[in-house]
């Protein structure tokens, strides 16, 4: 077949299409967004593939699980922190197992290029007892997604494919395989299987642990692990994309033994062979030191010295790169044209000129200054850039939906005014329940619900709740209609909007102000 030029994300998506999925589900999040977008844009017209942006990752996961339950193949994709939201469904799906092949693609973000943390999803795969594949190249992203769907059916479990930003957002030529028919398995008839009453769950959990070795054998049969024993006393284990950084430097350390690992749990027979052959082990993981910590053990009882992030051979945080791996191998840095970065003015991201959020913050800053106290509990979206100069308008940003719950808690601790700032998509994702609680608590909070009609931060995806439906939802939740204030965030309406913000900040109950104007980047 002719090679295609694909991002790592797109390679995953193409593989899922070719492996006969009947559905793809996701909530946007950098660096995973392009997986779903590719399936939506490239699904062949001669087959039925259902695609819909979900309201959040938990719903996305459950939708895929439902499709798998019904006997069809499905994928679900999200960024690493999205899996926290889907965690309940994820953990329990290991206990129910699956019917049609189901692959979860999680895109981790070591180095936090666009995330609140750099959590490593392999821990969650381990925690749930869900096998995990970790490709190192775009071609492997393709091959392992296909293999993952087959493995999922073979072992009756969801399979996680873990990628990182540098693979998700890097392009290379990928040779696709033949397109499979969309398979169909009969609906499950065993009602106990998917009903996690304690009596069933106990049985399934011990069955899962009982057949775990068989799951591992299936996982290790997927191509991707490779051991190369050579002359030097040093053995290097590299997982996922870290293997590329190792190979980039191996020309200068050609006698080191290497073990490429592309899955979790790791292939322990290969690890043992490396330990037997070498005197010292270096572990390279683009993430947390999961394997390294395991090999060392709590008692530091590994049969050979193990180096990596835990003993400072590599930095404890951040993403790996060829230079860091080079240093860990004990090789001198490559000489560069100039020795160090030049001291330059930074160019941080900023709200687009003309962005509606700018006008909202200009009003909010003025009324907060007048109030002379209080706090603005914010959320995640383009408006988080309001934390930076010139606005410096917000005091917090924690996780999607946190603004409303935190405003509720802060108000009950005496903070006044307590203002939540949240976007339309984030509100649909995780804000509704917090607002319901605030109403029941009769809290004195003002929610500034920025309706720009789109999920802007991640590149303009459809939003689940905006405009009239958003207002109807607020009324339905119990916000007093006289305290739902729709304003137009425009420079020319500044004075008018100030008056409305003042009124609602003074109100000692739940009020919602909706600055409503489309994001200027919306494509026609």
């Amino acid at each position: 077949m002719k090679p295609l030029i694909l991002l790592g994300d797109e390679a995953v998506a193409q593989a899922a299409i070719d492996a006969g999925i009947a559905g793809a589900f996701a909530y946007p999040g950098t660096p995973s967004t392009e997986i779903f977008e590719y399936v939506e844009r490239h699904k062949p017209s001669d087959r039925s593939i259902f695609t819909q942006w979900s309201s959040n990752e938990k719903v996305a996961y459950e939708t895929a699980l439902g499709m798998s339950y019904a006997g069809k193949r499905a994928i679900v994709s999200m960024k690493h922190v999205g899996l926290n939201v889907a965690m309940d469904a994820f953990m329990n799906s290991a206990i129910t197992g699956v019917n049609g092949g189901m692959v979860l693609i999680v895109a981790d973000d070591p180095g936090m290029h666009s995330s609140q943390n750099e959590q490593d999803s392999r821990f969650l795969a381990d925690f749930a007892r869900i096998p995990c594949l970790e490709p190192s190249t775009q071609q492997e992203a393709y091959d392992m997604t296909r293999a993952g769907l087959a493995l999922s059916e073979q072992v009756g479990l969801p399979v996680m494919v873990r990628i990182v930003t540098r693979l998700a957002h890097s392009r290379a030529a990928v040779v696709p395989g033949p397109r499979l028919e969309q398979s169909e398995r009969p609906l499950p008839t065993d009602k106990q299987r998917y009903t996690l009453l304690p009596s069933n769950a106990r049985r399934h959990w011990s069955q899962l642990l009982g057949r775990w070795e068989q799951v591992e054998r299936g996982l290790w049969a997927v191509e991707g692990n490779a051991l190369a024993l050579r002359g030097e006393p040093l053995g290097v284990i590299a997982t996922g994309i870290a293997f590329n950084y190792l190979m980039e430097n191996l020309g200068d350390a050609p006698e080191a033994s290497t073990l490429k690992i592309s899955c979790w749990p790791p292939p322990m027979d290969l690890v043992r062979q490396l330990f037997d052959h070498c005197e010292e082990i270096l572990v390279l993981e683009d993430g947390y030191p999961l394997l390294e910590g395991g090999l060392k053990g709590l008692l530091n009882s590994a049969p050979r010295p193990v180096h990596g992030r835990l003993d400072g051979a590599l930095p404890r945080t951040g993403e790996l790169d060829p230079a860091k791996v080079r240093a860990a191998l004990g090789l001198p840095a490559r000489p560069a044209a100039i020795p160090a970065p030049l001291p330059l003015a930074g160019r941080p991201p900023a709200l687009c000129p003309g962005c509606p959020h700018i006008d909202s913050y200009n009003v909010l800053n003025e009324v907060m200054a007048e109030a002379g106290g209080g706090r603005v509990l914010s959320d995640i979206g383009c408006y988080t850039l309001g934390a930076l100069a010139p606005f410096e308008a917000i005091d917090t940003c924690v996780d999607m939906g946190a603004s409303i719950g935190m405003a509720l808690g802060a108000s009950k601790a005496g903070v006044s005014p307590a203002v939540a700032v949240i976007g339309d998509s984030t509100f649909a994702h995780s804000g509704l329940t917090g607002l319901l609680d605030a109403i029941r608590a009769e809290a004195a909070i003002t929610v500034v619900l920025l309706d720009n009609a789109i999920v802007a931060m991640t590149g303009q995806q459809d939003t689940a709740l905006a405009g009239e439906r958003l207002i109807a939802t607020l009324t339905g939740l119990g916000v007093g209609p006289e305290h739902i204030r729709v304003v137009k965030p425009l420079r020319s309406r500044h004075e008018e909007n100030l008056a409305i913000f003042r009124e609602e900040l003074a109100y000692q109950g739940v009020s919602v102000i909706i600055p409503s104007r489309p994001c200027i980047q919306i494509r026609n």
Binding site: R166, H169, S170, R334, P335, A336, P349
Partner: protein
Amino acid sequence: MLDIILAGVGGQGILSIAYVLDYAALSAGLHFKQAEVHGMAQRGGAVQSHVRLAPGQIWSDLIPAGQVGLVLAVEPLEALRYAHELSPEGWVVSSTAPFVNISSYPDLSGVIGQIAALPRQVMVDAASLAQLAGNKRAENMVMLGAAAFLYPFPPEAALAHIEALFQAKGEKVVALNQRAFGLGQGASSIYREAVEAGLSAEQAIALCAHLHPGEVEPGAAARWAGAMLADPSMPWPTERVPATLAAAP
């Protein structure tokens, strides 16, 4: 083998440059990897892309520090941001047209001076050349052309994929962008020839502003450079003159 960092500001069209490089490399039978930046940084922030081209297997998606053969920048301050990643033999090919969206933007002549101090550089005014091609937005294609002398494939391969990239927007847009590429190539060769002939970077930039890079004959820029060095007070032509031997002093 060529390892390239593409540099610019979100919205300047870095990914279009990458598209042409990727497809041109594939069609020339080369291997490539190209890492890019999506997400938050695209909102007017500094953006870069690593493009690696090689005849054989490429491992890392990121270019090892100290191994960059070309920093190709659509914006001069952004060119400097990656200077420390250049190999000792590496080139900087940069636009001189600043994109000022920060209050702390430094003095432009200082920025140009810092680029000039790097071992091997080419500077062209992508903004005015894009205008000359017919649209200010073609700055990225001007820069793609300005670095074409370093690519491990012929310029025709780039031109073919510029066509593929803009096909959907019609013939005129294709022609405009191909013209921008050609002007970048021309201006780049004028600059290099002028510096070779002894002009400073600043003088070479000034010379480029007075010659038409649409028609470039080898040796013409060197003749202008010789004349400038012999008589620094030489009056400049008021309009761009062809960079031909016939029009040279």
